[in-house]
C-alpha cells in the first residue's frame, strides 16, 4: 500500500523537480536548435511513457494488493495486447528517432561556404589555427613539433606559411558565419566542448576530426575539454569570443602567421630553420 503511494508520489516529485529545477540547457548560442528540438521531442515522449508506466504500476500495486479472499487472475498470454503495445512503442521510437536523424544529417553535412578553424589540443591547453589568405591549412605532423614550431607545421609546405597561429587559450569567431572546426591532438584524446554551442567532437591523435557550427549570439563562452585527458583534464579550459565581423577582423590582424613566427625565430637564432628542419611530408 505504502509503496503504491510512494511510486505515485515519486512520479509527481519528478515532474515537480523538472518544473522547478534551476538546471537546464544553457541558452543556445549556435545554429543547433535542431538538436535542442530533437532533445525536447525525446523528452516529451519519454516523459509521457515514464508517467503512464509508473502510474499504471502504482495503480496495480494498490488495486491488486494481497488481501483475504483475493486471488490472482490466470492469463498466461494475450497476443493481441502485446502486438498493440509493440506497435505503439515502435511509433514512439520512430517519433523520436526521425528528428534525431534529421538533426544528425545536418550535423554531418558541412555547408560549402563554411570557413575553417583548427583547434589543437595538448595536455592541458588549447591552440588555434586559421588558414590565412589562401584559405588552406598547411600540412602538419608530430615530427615537426619543436619549441619554435609548437603546432608542428611542415616548414616546407607553402600553404602553411600564411596560416595564422593562436597560441593562447582564447579563440575569436565571427557571428553568423558557418565554421568548420577541424580538430587535431598532439598527444591524447581531448574533446572540444562549448555548452552553449551544443556541438562537440573528440580530438584524436593521428587523425583530423571535425564538426561545424554557426555562432548566433555574441559573447564570451567557455571551452571545456570533455574527454578525459589525464590529471589536468578538469583544468583544460579555453574561451571563445563570438563577436562582429569587424571586431573579429581587427583581432585577426593582431595575430602572427606561421611565416612571421618562423622569420622571427630565424632572426633570433641567425639560422635558417626552414632548411634545418627535416623535409618531411605527413598529414596535417
Amino acid at each position: 500500500m505504502a509503496v503504491a503511494v510512494v511510486i505515485a508520489l515519486l512520479v509527481l516529485a519528478t515532474i515537480a523537480f523538472h518544473m522547478l529545477s534551476p538546471w537546464w540547457m544553457t541558452p543556445i548560442a549556435s545554429n543547433w536548435g535542431s538538436i535542442d528540438t530533437a532533445l525536447m521531442i525525446t523528452l516529451w515522449i519519454c516523459a509521457a511513457a515514464f508517467v503512464a508506466l509508473n502510474l499504471f504500476l502504482a495503480y496495480s500495486l494498490y488495486r491488486y494488493r494481497a488481501r483475504p479472499g483475493h486471488t490472482a487472475h490466470y492469463e498466461p498470454e494475450n497476443a493481441r495486447l502485446e502486438k498493440r503495445l509493440t506497435l505503439w512503442t515502435g511509433l514512439g521510437i520512430a517519433g523520436m528517432l526521425a528528428p534525431g536523424l534529421i538533426a544528425w544529417n545536418q550535423y554531418v553535412t558541412v555547408p560549402d561556404d563554411a570557413s575553417v578553424i583548427e583547434a589543437t589540443g595538448q595536455q592541458w591547453q588549447w591552440g588555434f589555427r586559421f588558414p590565412g589568405q589562401d584559405g588552406v591549412l598547411g600540412t602538419a605532423a608530430v615530427a615537426h613539433i619543436n619549441a619554435d614550431n609548437p603546432f608542428g607545421l611542415n616548414p616546407l609546405d607553402p600553404y602553411g606559411k600564411d596560416d595564422v597561429l593562436v597560441e593562447t587559450n582564447e579563440l575569436h569567431m565571427p557571428i553568423g558565419k558557418p565554421v568548420k572546426m577541424v580538430l587535431r591532438s598532439k598527444d591524447v584524446l581531448h574533446d572540444f566542448y562549448v555548452p552553449q554551442f551544443r556541438a562537440k567532437m573528440d580530438l584524436v591523435p593521428g587523425i583530423v576530426t571535425y564538426f561545424w557550427v554557426t555562432p548566433t549570439r555574441t559573447g564570451t563562452f567557455e571551452i571545456l575539454c570533455a574527454e578525459l585527458c589525464g590529471v589536468g583534464h578538469h583544468a583544460m579550459r579555453g574561451t571563445v569570443v563570438v563577436e562582429s565581423e569587424a571586431d573579429f577582423n581587427r583581432w585577426m590582424g593582431e595575430q602572427m602567421t606561421f611565416g612571421q613566427l618562423l622569420a622571427e625565430a630565424e632572426g633570433d637564432k641567425k639560422v635558417q630553420l626552414a632548411q634545418a628542419s627535416a623535409p618531411r611530408a605527413g598529414g596535417r
Partner: protein, 581 residues
C-alpha cells in the same frame, strides 16, 4: 533427447572428505556460487568506499587534502571497473548463475565441475592482481574505466607505470575465468536439464543467465585482445593503438596506430556487457514478480524471445558510445537506429512485468519491494538511455553528468536492486534461515529513495552541461552556485545510502546464525529449486533420483487447483488447467 544424457547420469559425484575439500577446493556449484558472491561483494565494498571518496570531493571540493586529481581519477577508474566487471558480472553470472542453473534445471551440478572450480580461483586471482595495483609505485590506473589510449599508458595519467599493467593483466585473467564459467553455464543448460525440462519450461532467471553467458563468450574475447594489444603497446613498444604523438614535449617512438580501434574493441565488449548484467537481472526479476504476485509471468514466450533478441541486437549497437569519438560520422545513422530498435523488446519486457502485476495477488514481501524498486528505476534509466542513443541528442549530453545519471540508474541501481531482491528471495534456500524483516525493509526504503535522490538531479546537471570526470568544476560561468549545492546534497544522499548497506550486511550475517529456521518453500514457489529434498540442498541437490518436470515454472493461481501454486514436479491430472509449454 539432449537432456537425457547427463541428467540421468548417476556417476558418483566427487564427494569431498575434509572441511577444506568441502568449502575451499569445492566442486559443488552451490559452494562455488557462494565463493564467487562473497568475493564479488568484498571487492564491491572497495568500489563502494571509492565512490564515497569521489562524492566527498565533488560535494565538498577543497576540503579533503588527501584527495588530489591523481587519486580522484584512480577512484573513478577503479570504482567503475570493479563495479561493472568484478562485482556485477561476477555476482550475477558467477554467483547466481552457479547457484541457480543446476537447481532450476534439475541437474546435480554443472557439467564440468572441476573447470567450474578453476573458474572461481582464476576469478579470485584476477581480483588479487587488481587489488595489488593499489600497492605498487604510482598506484592503480586513473585512466577512466574505459582505459582509452593513448592517455592510459602515458605520463600525465596516474598509474601509467605499473597500475595499468596490473589492470590489463587482471582483466585478461578475468576473461579466462569467465570463459571457464560461461562454458559451464551454457553447456549445463543445453545438456543437463532433467527429464521434462524443455527449454520453454525453464524459468526466466535461467534464460537470462543462459543468454548472458553466450553473449559473454562472444564479447569478452574482444576485451581480451584489446588488453593484450595494449599491454604490448605499453611493454614492448608496438603501436596497435598509438599514432605518432608528442607527450609532454617529447616525441614518443610510436607511429601508425589507431586510438579509435581500441574504442571499437572495448565497446564491442562494453555494450553487450551492459546486457550481460541486465539480462540475468531481467530474468531474475521476472521470477520475483511472478512468485510474489502469485501470478504467471505474463507473455512468457515473448519474455524469452525478448531476452534472445536483446542479446543478439546488443552486438550491433556498440558505436553508440562513440558518436563524438571522431569515427566516421555516417556510422551515427546506423547505430542510432539499431540502438533505438532495442528499446522495443526492452519495452515489451517492462509491459509484461507490469501486466504480471495487473490482476495479481501482490504480496509486498521484501523481494517484491526490491522488484518494484527495480521497475521504477529501470523505467527511468531505460528512458533516459533513449536520449543518449538518439545520435544528435547525444552530442550535447555525452561526457556530462547526464551519462552518469543514466547508466547508474540503468546499470548500477536497477541490477543492484534485483541482486538485493534475489538475495532476500533465495536466502532461505541457501542458508535455511530467514532474515530480519524490519531491518530488510528499512534497507529497502533508504536504498530506493536514496539512489533516486542521488541520480535524478545528475540528469539535470548534465542537461546544463556539467562535464563528468572533473576533479573540480572550478570557476565556470555557466554553472550556477545552485549546481554546486546540488552536488553537496547528492553527496549527503550517497553517504546515507552507503550507511544503509551496512544494515544489509549486518542483517545477513546475524540471520545466518540467529535467523529463524526457514520453511523449504517459504514463498510457495513453483520452480524446481524450491522442491529439493533438503534445505539447504546437499551435494548433488536431489538425493537418489532426479526430479521429473511436467509443466512450466509459472503455474500460480491456476483456476481449479487446490493451492495457489503448482510445482513443476506435479504431474498433470486432477484439478487445474494445464498450460501447454
Amino acid at each position: 533427447m539432449a537432456t537425457a544424457t547427463i541428467a540421468d547420469d548417476l556417476r558418483p559425484l566427487h564427494h569431498p572428505k575434509s572441511w577444506i575439500g568441502k568449502y575451499v577446493w569445492s566442486q559443488d556449484h552451490k559452494v562455488i556460487a557462494i565463493q564467487y558472491s562473497l568475493t564479488a561483494i568484498a571487492i564491491g565494498l572497495v568500489a563502494l568506499v571509492l565512490s564515497g571518496l569521489m562524492r566527498l570531493q565533488l560535494g565538498f571540493p577543497d576540503t579533503f587534502d588527501f584527495i588530489q586529481p591523481e587519486n580522484y581519477l584512480q577512484y573513478v577508474t577503479m570504482h567503475g571497473m570493479i563495479m561493472v566487471v568484478y562485482l556485477l558480472t561476477a555476482l550475477l553470472l558467477g554467483g547466481f548463475g552457479n547457484y541457480l542453473i543446476p537447481l532450476m534445471v534439475g541437474a546435480r551440478d554443472m557439467v564440468f565441475p572441476f573447470v567450474n572450480m578453476l573458474s572461481y580461483w582464476f576469478y579470485l586471482l584476477a581480483v588479487l592482481v587488481l587489488v595489488a595495483s593499489f600497492f605498487v609505485p604510482g598506484g592503480p590506473t586513473g585512466a577512466g574505466w574505459t582505459l582509452y589510449p593513448p592517455q592510459t599508458i602515458l605520463e600525465g595519467t596516474p598509474g601509467h607505470q605499473y597500475g595499468i599493467i596490473l589492470m590489463l593483466a587482471s582483466l585478461a585473467i578475468f576473461v579466462v575465468a569467465f570463459t571457464m564459467g560461461g562454458l559451464n553455464y551454457v553447456t549445463t543448460v543445453l545438456q543437463a536439464r532433467t527429464k521434462g525440462m524443455t527449454l520453454m519450461r525453464m524459468p526466466c532467471s535461467v534464460w537470462g543467465i543462459f543468454v548472458a553467458s553466450i553473449m559473454g563468450l562472444l564479447a569478452f574475447p574482444a576485451l581480451f585482445v584489446a588488453c593484450i594489444m595494449m599491454l604490448l603497446d605499453r611493454l614492448v613498444g608496438t603501436s596497435f593503438f598509438m599514432p605518432a604523438i608528442a607527450s609532454m614535449g617529447k616525441e614518443l617512438g610510436y607511429e601508425g596506430g589507431s586510438p579509435i580501434l581500441f574504442q571499437h574493441l572495448f565497446w564491442f565488449f562494453g555494450h553487450p556487457e551492459v546486457y550481460i548484467v541486465a539480462l540475468p537481472a531481467f530474468g531474475i526479476v521476472s521470477d520475483l514478480i511472478a512468485v510474489h504476485a502469485r501470478k504467471n509471468i505474463f507473455g512468457y514466450r515473448m519474455m524469452v524471445w525478448a531476452i534472445v533478441i536483446i542479446g543478439a541486437l546488443s552486438f550491433f549497437v556498440w558505436a553508440h558510445h562513440m558518436y563524438v569519438s571522431g569515427m566516421n560520422p555516417y556510422f551515427g545513422f546506423f547505430f542510432a537506429t539499431s540502438t533505438l530498435i532495442i528499446a522495443i523488446p526492452t519495452a515489451i519486457k517492462v509491459y509484461n512485468w507490469l501486466l504480471t502485476l495487473w490482476r495479481g495477488d501482490i504480496h509486498l514481501t521484501v523481494p517484491m519491494l526490491f522488484a518494484i524498486g527495480f521497475l521504477f528505476t529501470f523505467i527511468h534509466g531505460g528512458l533516459s538511455g533513449l536520449f543518449l542513443g538518439n545520435v544528435s541528442v547525444d552530442v550535447p549530453l555525452s561526457d556530462t553528468f547526464f551519462v552518469i545519471g543514466h547508466f547508474h540508474m540503468v546499470m548500477g541501481v536497477s541490477p543492484i536492486l534485483v541482486i538485493f531482491g534475489a538475495i532476500y528471495h533465495w536466502y532461505p534456500k541457501i542458508t535455511g534461515r530467514m532474515w530480519n524483516d524490519a531491518l530488510a525493509k528499512i534497507h529497502f526504503w533508504v536504498t530506493f529513495l536514496g539512489v533516486y535522490a542521488i541520480f535524478l538531479p545528475m540528469h539535470y546537471l548534465g542537461m546544463l552541461g556539467v562535464p563528468r570526470r572533473y576533479f573540480a568544476l572550478g570557476e565556470t560561468a555557466f554553472i550556477p552556485p545552485s549546481a554546486h549545492l546540488a552536488n553537496e546534497w547528492i553527496t549527503i544522499a550517497a553517504l546515507i545510502v552507503f550507511a544503509a548497506q551496512m544494515l544489509f550486511f549486518w542483517n545477513m550475517t546475524w540471520s545466518l546464525f540467529r535467523g529463524p529456521r526457514a520453511d523449504p518453500n517459504p514463498w510457495g514457489a513453483a520452480s524446481l529449486e524450491w522442491q529439493t529434498p533438503d534445505t539447504p540442498p546437499g551435494h548433488g541437490n536431489w538425493g537418489p533420483t532426479l526430479p521429473t518436470v511436467y509443466r512450466w515454472a509459472y503455474d500460480y493461481s491456476v483456476p481449479g487447483a487446490d493451492r495457489d501454486f503448482t510445482p513443476q514436479t506435479q504431474p498433470p491430472g486432477g484439478a487445474g488447467r494445464y498450460h501447454a509449454t
